[in-house]
Symmetry: C2
Amino acid sequence: MAKARTVPACGCPVAAFQKLISGKYKLRIVWDLKDGPRRYGEIRTGLLRGMPGSAEIAPRVLSRELKALTESGLIDRKDFGVVPPKVEYRLTRKGRTFVPVVAAIKDWGTRHLAEARAPEMVAAE
Amino acid sequence: MAKARTVPACGCPVAAFQKLISGKYKLRIVWDLKDGPRRYGEIRTGLLRGMPGSAEIAPRVLSRELKALTESGLIDRKDFGVVPPKVEYRLTRKGRTFVPVVAAIKDWGTRHLAEARAPEMVAAE
DNA sequence: CAGCATCCTGCGTGATACTG
DNA sequence: CAGTATCACGCAGGATGCTG
């Protein structure tokens, strides 16, 4: 079984949460998916938005996070089994309950540590 | 300059949040401090509670997380400058605004991924 | 298009010992 | 008591190339 690195396997919900979203993109993936299903490439492109210049996402990394989220039961993977390949990811019911939490996080972040962002953007998004 | 490992330095509030709480104990420290100031040793002991058996917290680790939280402006360090040493940590105003977010996280965790916890405990805490 | 296989590296974390 | 110093390790994450 997967031994948690960042967080102990105690009963603490906070620790469990941290384990669940450990990783660079998990929270943002969930957030991207809140508006509906998205394909692998769309998620990838979406995550690129807002990243510094020449940054690229290693497919291995994104793939792993998606798989982890799937195994956590937050998202669902639908493989259309066609060529060229088409795969859609979308939030499960559990995943949807998670959205408000992410919203709270996002909201707090926007209010308290968005020094790098222009005020107008804060209001907009 | 400290290049973020776990999270990119983009304007995304979610990413900023992740960077802020990256680390094993940060969220739990904030949560522990919500009820008032605590000393170094008290935090340490409190975090031990709920951890698997023989686990110990390396002082270096705890020290680093506390320093990081201090530099993030979430907590405040008060050194009494006495012997034997006495240091108290407590939430700043900003840190206090963060508590509801942690509460939301904790609440969600309790509801959706607390399979390891007894139902009574869920209701209690 | 949506990944998997492989190699590599940096940082978070742990353990132990020491100090003001 | 509240840390710092030092050493060591494992895993997340990046880069590149290949495949069904």
